[in-house]
């Protein structure tokens, strides 16, 4: 299927779903089934189109849309294809998940939900395809912003979600203003100029104008991606109040459109801007802001008790990794040496890989969070524990996705972080900034681990839910499991078949024109130098064993686990089950279990300055539970 066919068919399906939702508002079943079908269909079409864009059947689809007097350029190249593919996967899983998740919604809310969702997806498609900073951009941005405002606002039946939704809309609109104004401040800007044209015009602008242009866009797209301190304003509130399938989309792809924008600006427009663009300065800015974001976002995530907020803060941190890698690849690119330029490409690849990975596992985590919410009705980690028995499938999925996002070896997070961080270290061995930021990134990996040990450990393995949740906890319906399993499979494939994805990424970049690193990603170019610099030869397509590096580590661990299992059973000791031992007087109960707010208390105190100390848990029962996680001094 050609790119355009997919594009149009998917938009058509979206409008069909919109229309059914409008007409059959009184019949919730029809709305839900039709909405799910049409949106899924649209996602499938979109995926097909995106794949052809990546594989570059023909050339990038570049054309103009005419709406009477208004017209705007559309560009669907490999890069957009990549993000569109991510969008289609997440859209598909979210919408299937929603069909079960929204069962409890009353008809009116359901109709609104299915009205807003296709518009939101259409807006996102627009954002990833329009190639200007004028009308097309405004149109898709507003579609996205307003529909997602409603989606966030509909996250909860009560009034609590109104404020975060308004904050969200406010920031989106401010963001829009920033981005639009950046274009207007460009010299000789004509309404409707495509990005390439803007870039060329920048090449003839003054330094101040360029500075303003890039700063505004960095702030604009950074806000959307969640750059520190901008992301903190809206992300936690919006993600924790929107319904989790929507949060999955917000974290999985809406944030990535910010990343997409940054890549477009700093790696495409910048090339057009030529000598006027200072990669050293902007690389440093990106590295510093990315490092700050990844550190602070993750530390803040560690302090949260509301697991949806935790996921929200943590996605700020993960986007920080991507931005840090983008910056560091710019810097490496700028260093001049050919070998280090190759490393720049590797780091860039890592950033893209991490975007994909993060999109997948963060959506998965949000869907897991949604399942928790669905089954237990609470967002408070202090009240959960021991759900592994009640929700085994969700538990395993949570374990694997936590494992992935923490970047443990032989997981998708490991591959992308490995690409980014080791590339960064090798490229930056002579640069203090790169080395230190790499160290911070490694350091933060431990914080990420802490977040997710806490999330998985306290929600699924520990004890507590049996006393603190009044209703019976059951595994979620199959329709909510299927999308999660689908995402998990993708996540696993990302971990164990990095070669496939690296090829996919290289292809998509090869089919993007006007790219700063263009030419670096041809297979031949990459394989040649890899073996010398990087030990883990995941690029080496000729060597099948080497192509599956993480798989070897997995294999080692699995073999050793069997060895350990043999060792454990070598003496044939019997297993005896006893209750938990509490020094002999008390039995385990709701008062003496170790709950979330106690975790890492001293560390929280040390890192009080990173903010996010106010632990807010808005529970479904409406109560507002809040306490301070880490203040400087004990009162």
């Amino acid at each position: 299927m050609s790119v355009l066919a997919g594009f149009y068919l998917s938009l058509l399906s979206l409008s069909l779903s919109l229309i059914t939702a409008l007409i059959f508002g009184r019949k919730p079943e029809v709305v839900r089934v039709a909405g799910t079908l049409f949106i899924s269909l649209s996602c499938i079409f979109l995926a097909l189109g995106a794949i052809s864009a990546i594989t570059g059947e023909g050339h990038p689809a570049e054309f103009e849309v005419n709406l009477g007097i208004f017209h705007f350029p559309i560009l669907i190249d490999g890069l957009s294809g990549l993000f569109l593919l991510l969008l289609s996967i997440l859209g598909l899983t979210s919408v299937i998940y929603s069909s079960a998740f929204t069962k409890k919604n009353e008809p009116g809310r359901l109709q609104k939900y299915y009205l807003a969702l296709p518009v939101f997806i259409a807006g996102l498609i627009g954002l990833l395809t329009v190639d200007d900073l004028g009308l097309g951009f405004t149109l898709s941005w507003q579609l996205m912003a307003i529909s997602s405002y409603f989606l966030v606002r509909m996250g909860r039946p009560d009034k609590i979600s109104v404020r975060p939704a308004r904050v969200y809309l406010l920031f989106m609109e401010a963001d829009w203003l920033m981005i639009i104004s950046s274009a207007f401040l460009t010299k000789n800007y004509q309404f409707g100029d495509s990005l390439a044209v803007i870039g060329e015009k920048l090449a003839h602008s003054g330094r101040i104008e360029i500075l303003i242009f890039f700063s505004l866009l960095l702030a604009g797209f950074g806000l959307k991606a969640g750059l520190f301190p901008l992301g903190q304003f809206w992300i936690p509130g919006a993600y924790s109040t929107a319904s989790p399938p929507v949060s999955a989309l917000l974290a999985g792809i809406l944030e990535k459109t910010g990343v997409f924008g940054l890549i477009r600006i700093f790696f495409f427009v910048a090339k057009e801007a030529g000598a006027n663009f200072n990669p050293d300065l902007w690389g440093k800015v990106l590295v510093i802001s990315g490092t700050l974001t990844l550190f602070i976002g993750t530390v803040q995530a560690m302090k949260q008790s509301d697991y949806l907020r935790l996921l929200g803060y943590s996605s700020i941190g993960q986007v920080g990794y991507i931005i840090f890698a983008l910056g560091s690849s710019l810097l490496a690119w700028n260093s001049g040496s050919q070998a280090i330029r190759h490393l720049a490409a590797v780091i860039f690849l890592g950033a893209l890989y991490h975007s994909l990975n993060h999109g997948i596992f963060k959506s998965l985590l949000f869907l897991v969070g949604g399942s928790l919410l669905y089954s237990t009705g609470t967002r408070d980690l202090n009240r959960l524990g021991g759900l592994l028995a009640a929700m085994p499938v969700t538990g395993i999925l949570a374990a694997l996705s936590s494992y992935s996002i923490a970047g443990m070896p032989a997981s998708s997070g490991f591959v992308s972080k490995w690409l980014m961080i080791s590339g960064n270290f090798l490229a930056g061995r002579n640069s203090l900034l790169l080395t230190f930021s790499g160290i911070v990134a490694l350091f933060t990996a431990a914080f990420t681990l802490a977040c997710y040990v806490k999330f998985f450990g306290l929600a699924f393995t520990s004890v507590g839910a049996q006393w603190k949740i009044k209703k019976e906890i059951k595994e979620v319906p199959t329709l909510m499991l299927i999308p999660k399993i689908l995402l998990m499979l993708i996540c696993l494939s990302q971990a164990f078949m990095p070669l496939v994805y690296v090829n996919l990424l290289s292809k998509s970049l090869n089919h993007s024109e006007d790219f700063l690193f263009s030419g670096m990603f041809t297979g031949h170019n990459l394989t040649n130098f890899k073996a010398e610099v990087l030990s883990l030869k995941i690029f080496d397509g000729r060597n099948l064993l080497a192509a599956t590096g993480p798989l070897i580590i997995l294999l080692i661990i699995v073999v050793l686990i069997f060895l350990a299992r043999w060792f454990r059973q070598s003496a044939g000791s019997a297993e005896v089950t006893v209750p938990v031992w509490l020094c002999g007087y008390q039995d385990l109960n709701q008062d003496n279990i170790y709950v979330d707010r106690n975790m890492f208390s001293d560390l929280k105190k040390i890192f009080w300055w990173t903010g996010g100390n106010k632990v807010i848990v808005v529970d479904d029962e409406g109560e507002l539970a809040g306490c301070n996680a880490g203040t400087k001094k004990d009162e």
Binding site: L388, P409, F425, L432, A450, V533, R568, T577, W581
Partner: protein, 299 residues
Amino acid sequence: MKVAAIFINLAYFLLLAPFLEGVMRKLTARIQSRQGPPLYQPYLDLLKLLGKENIVSSKNWAFRLAPLLAFSSMLAVVLLVPLAGAENLLSHSSDLMTLIYLLTLSGFSILVGALASGNPFAGVGASREMMTIIMLEPVLAMTLILGAVKSESFTISSALSGIGRNHGFSYFLMLVVYLLALQAFVSRQPFDIPEAEVEILEGPYVEYSGPNYALFRYTLNIKRMFYAWLFVVSFLNFVPSGNFWLKLLLETAGILILFVLISVIGATHPRFRIDQAIKYYTLLVVLSLIAIGLGVKGW
């Protein structure tokens, strides 16, 4: 040879690690004016634990998987390292990142097991263990990265030999930092805070017994030996590579000397509190950052 090296690695660490604990216990006993258990006591302890009932207080699989994962990831670490400078078949499928993350994985599985047990003491221990990992991982990482920076390579063997390449300021600073952090790496006094027997009853391991606990003990023994070995090969790497067995012998001697140091320090210090320890670790992190900075500048 490359295949045989895998088994040599495995055998070296598996066989020697409990003995080193025996050395440590004997030395500690001597400092405390006691007879102390015989050197082979840790082997007997492991055998005894293996034969005991496996008491399980939690029904979920995370509790049972944790000791296996901790043990296997620690073994994976020692499989990947170049013992006595000899790389093995598996060394090539990994690099420093893998090593660091595998070490973290071992700690991570202890945490998961601790949280799975549902015991509040294990909870306190897990929380402390995680804080220690967060603060100490960078120190270890930076030691290795110093090697990577100096050798301009990210492979394990070149990074390890790279640290001692030129004995500049960065080398000495990092050496001091590593020694200061060593007690914490091997979790002995004053930094055995996550396990603190008197307050939280061995913390994360409180619900583990029998074979499960044997696995954790073994993991801990190997971990201690690994950190001592790491110090010997990366900082005391004066012997030019020659005979494999001679080199192995020298490394073993180095490890033994380091264990004497660990025992002496461990026996002459009270346990710190976690808040005090975190401040101390922060200092170490800052110092090692400086060392890295010096290393990057080529000093």
